[in-house]
């Protein structure tokens, strides 16, 4: 794992959206293989990564999440055939846009995790948490319309 500078006592809060067919099962496999990742990652089960509305991501940030990760089936393996292809475009555009607003790019992530990739799920979460921890607390979206000094 790469070196990180942890801000004193800071534990980030991470929202992870996992598709039911691949990534949620991948997370289950990480569990049954006892492959640990930080407890501050909390998973929301969605039928497909394409169910994740950018508004959910924005809501998470606005409510104080420090990082949001979306996991789906690998391209070509989507249970619903094409869902993750739409996800890929939507999230590519959303993440770039958030970056444009000043939300650091390491706070958002899209990963393809199959039901067989328990180890990958765990590794991805460890890596993501490390990166978000290094960035520190995210207050930006909830601050966006508050005048400085207010």
């Amino acid at each position: 794992m790469q070196e990180i500078t942890t801000k004193e006592g800071f534990v980030p809060n991470i929202v992870a959206f996992c598709c039911n067919w691949c990534s949620y099962a991948g997370a289950d496999l990480a569990g049954s293989s006892r492959l640990s990742y930080p407890a501050n990652v909390k998973i929301i089960r969605v039928p497909c990564s394409c169910r994740v509305n950018p508004m959910f991501v924005l809501k998470a940030f606005q409510r104080g999440a420090d990082g949001v990760i979306i996991c789906g089936c690998h391209p070509g393996d989507c249970h619903y055939v094409t869902g993750n292809y739409y996800t890929r475009r939507r999230m590519a555009m959303l993440f770039s846009f958030l970056d444009y607003l000043g939300i650091e790019r390491d706070r958002t992530r899209l990963e393809w995790v199959s039901a067989a990739e328990g180890a990958k799920f765990s590794a991805v979460m460890n890596d993501f948490v490390a990166k978000v921890t290094a960035l520190g607390e995210n207050k930006k979206l909830s601050d966006l319309r508050v005048k400085e000094g207010e």
Binding site: N13, V15, N20, Y24, A25, A27, D28, A30, G31, S32, R34, L35, S36, Y37, A39, N40, K42, I43, I44, R45, V46, P47, C48, C50, R51, V52, N53, P54, M55, F56, K59, A60, R63, G64, A65, G76, D77, H79, Y80, V81, T82, G83, Y86, R90, S122
Partner: protein, 662 residues
């Protein structure tokens, strides 16, 4: 307001060793809607389930949260438990505190805190749950098979065998397809007609099978179990019921300029014709482009000689509409057009032919009665050069990027048959790779090389040109690293195969997805290879990807098994977690339909009463029998009119909020 019961499972020590289950149950006791909370050693056990059932009754619970293992493990179990106690099974939410918590965290404090949040998230969701019930839709117990080649024939026979009615729609005048054109089949070298035509006859004789030849699918409405299909029966100008197939009309027909499609246009046929001797139905058809009577009004010879009185020049296209529960697409393939491949001189030289043309030349019922004669002068060719991968594995944009799969084997077959029948003939084969996986396939290829002395040259051909009546094949031998020039009498091109172009229209009609090469897409490349993503539509044969006869037959039978499994049901249960549009919010903008992989969304004009005014609006309408519940549409909808039952925007938002509370 919900009355929620929370049940925290110990899973023996699997959860309880790391998560303080009592603390979890205690922590959520006063949460919104929660009226009961308990823990138990094994919630999935008989006793655990009884505990849940009792609590549902005693506390009049309207929803339950089970903090346990993954929903992928026991969601179905607890749904049944709830249902047994009179609670709607979709009022159950699982908090995964085993795989996502106790098994991956070692610190008891940390794991307990997380378990509390996960349970609270599930409580937040269940607060917004609504009872859902699976709908039902009836099943029409009849199948449609589009395409009457070996794939369609096999599928139809298998479905009929199970007792269901099947219609085969074939656009040509006879069923049989490409296999009927083939002379011999690899790897056994048995005659194609000998194994195919009995199956064609079986189709004709099976009272469950209705062959609609010379017909095309024009319109498809409905959905799985309940398709309504409009079929065009093209005018053949011959009464199918009266024609006896005596062929007298063919003899007498004065117009003999039509090119014989069945023989790859290598010879001519009359304007009225039966495509080949064993055609099913054995009924003549008039080619309106060639028929003198239809073109000028004069002639009418065939009508005069027809003893059965079957000829009817006034026949028009007819349309019939029938209902089907399932549809099998088996539209097959054609060799690609070779006009773009100037280097092989196909268009300029009569003696540069395709492999399928060679099949006809070698066939006893073909244009040369099975004698190997070259098209230009009817001479027996002494040197024959085969070129493989013509347009296959071609990323130049000229051909197809994929491997056509069958060419290596049929080229070996051709080479072998020629050497067997005409041992004085020299046979060369240019190849990139020889691909022969399959039972007895590599052995077959090796026989061509070892036993029959076919000269295999690894390398591509750069040019074929005509020099003093000889075809000069210039290529490279990559193994000897040298240029070779072969003076040939006949050049045979193993042209790539592509899906029959009409499949595009069929795919559109069925809202079945199609890839960039026009192959129909299967629902899952590995696990649902014969199903289209469109429910109730199945794929057999080359329309789904290049394959040979045994594979096609296997896939066709697999389709039949799927179709039978569907038709045997009286009613289909539909997934209740489907999308639906809020009518008053919907803009009718069509964006949702454009991302739906199943074609489940249509638009209706509907009169709505909004704010005291009646307005005609265009509104999205989701067919719950077709929707699979992915949710792609919900995100595309800008107004949020489209939502997904069981995973509604509000529910997910509330889960997000709960996780972010700290």
């Amino acid at each position: 307001m919900q009355r929620i019961g929370v049940f925290i499972c110990w899973c023996g020590s699997n959860i309880a060793a790391t998560v303080d289950v009592e603390r979890v149950a205690d922590a959520v006791k006063k949460d919104q809607g929660v009226v009961y909370s308990a823990t138990y050693q094994y919630m999935c056990s008989e006793n655990g389930q009884q505990l849940i059932k009792n609590a549902i009754k005693e506390h009049s619970l309207t929803g339950i949260v089970v903090g346990s293992c993954s929903p992928r493990m026991h969601e179905a179990t607890f749904r049944k438990t709830a249902e047994a106690a009179g609670l709607n099974s979709y009022m159950v939410e699982i908090a995964n505190i085993r795989e996502h918590c106790s098994w991956i965290h070692k610190d008891r404090e940390e794991a307990t805190e997380k378990a509390i949040i996960l349970v609270r998230t599930a409580i937040a969701k269940v607060n917004l749950n609504a009872p859902l019930s699976a709908g039902e839709s009836p099943v029409i117990k009849r199948a449609l098979v589009i395409g009457g080649g070996i794939a369609g024939i096999q599928a139809a026979l298998d479905i009929a065998e199970a007792g269901f009615e099947v219609d085969i729609v074939e656009k040509n005048a006879t069923i049989g397809g490409r296999m009927a054109q083939i002379d011999k089949t690899f790897p056994t070298l048995d005659c194609s007609a000998c194994i195919l035509t009995p199956k064609m006859v079986d189709c004709a004789q099976n009272e469950k099978i209705d062959i609609l030849s010379y017909s095309e699918v024009e319109e498809v409405k409905g959905f799985v179990g309940n398709f309504s299909v409009k079929i065009k029966r093209k005018a053949r100008f011959v009464d199918e019921k009266k024609c006896t197939g005596c062929k007298l009309c063919m003899e007498k027909c004065p117009s003999k300029k039509g090119l014989d499609e069945f023989n790859m246009k290598l010879n001519k046929r009359p304007a009225i014709y039966i495509p080949f001797a064993q055609a099913i139905p054995n009924v003549a058809v008039i080619d309106p482009e060639q028929c003198i009577k239809l073109k000028t009004g004069k002639c009418g010879l065939c009508q005069k000689v027809c003893g059965a009185g079957a000829i009817d020049y006034t026949q028009k296209d007819e349309y019939i509409e029938r209902g089907y529960g399932a549809i099998v697409v088996a539209t097959g393939f054609k060799p690609i057009e070779l006009n773009a491949f100037n280097e092989f001189g196909y268009s300029e030289n009569q003696d540069v032919i395709t492999s399928l043309e060679l099949e006809r030349i070698m066939n006893a019922a073909g244009p040369t009665n099975g004698v190997l004669l070259r098209p230009s002068d009817g001479e027996h060719p002494k040197v024959i050069t085969f070129i493989q991968c013509v347009g296959s594995r071609d990323t130049s944009g000229c051909g197809k990027p994929y491997c056509s799969k069958i060419c290596c084997m049929y080229t070996a077959k051709h080479a072998m048959l020629i050497r067997e029948k005409y041992p004085d003939t020299e046979v060369h084969v240019f190849y990139i790779d020889v691909r022969t996986p399959g039972k007895n396939y590599d052995e077959f290829f090796r026989r061509a090389v070892e036993q029959y002395g076919v000269d295999y040259i690894k390398g591509m051909v750069g040019k074929v040109y005509n020099e003093n009546g000889k075809l000069m094949v210039q290529g490279s031998n990559l193994i000897d690293n040298e240029q070779v020039l072969i003076e040939s009498d006949l050049v045979v091109l193993a042209a790539a195969i592509e899906p029959e172009p009409s499949v595009r229209k069929i795919a559109t009609l069925l809202t079945a997805s199609i890839d960039t090469n026009n192959f129909l897409t299967e629902s899952h490349a590995k696990l649902r290879p014969v199903e289209s993503p469109t429910a109730g539509v199945y794929l057999a044969g080359v329309c789904q990807g290049p394959k040979d006869i045994p594979e096609t037959v296997s896939q066709a039978s697999a389709c039949a098994a799927k179709v039978i499994g569907l038709l045997v049901k009286d009613k289909l249960k539909t997934n209740p977690c489907v999308a639906s549009a809020n009518e008053t919010m919907c803009n009718g903008c069509s964006q949702c339909a454009s991302v739906c992989p199943y074609g489940a969304i249509t638009y209706v004009e509907k009169e709505l009463r909004v704010d005291g005014k009646t307005e005609l609006r265009r509104i999205a309408s989701v067919n719950p029998a077709v929707c699979q519940g992915c949710g792609a549409c919900t995100v595309t909808c800008p107004s949020g009119a489209m939502d997904l039952k069981g995973f509604s925007s509000k529910q997910i938002m509330s889960e997000v909020e709960e996780i972010c509370k700290r």
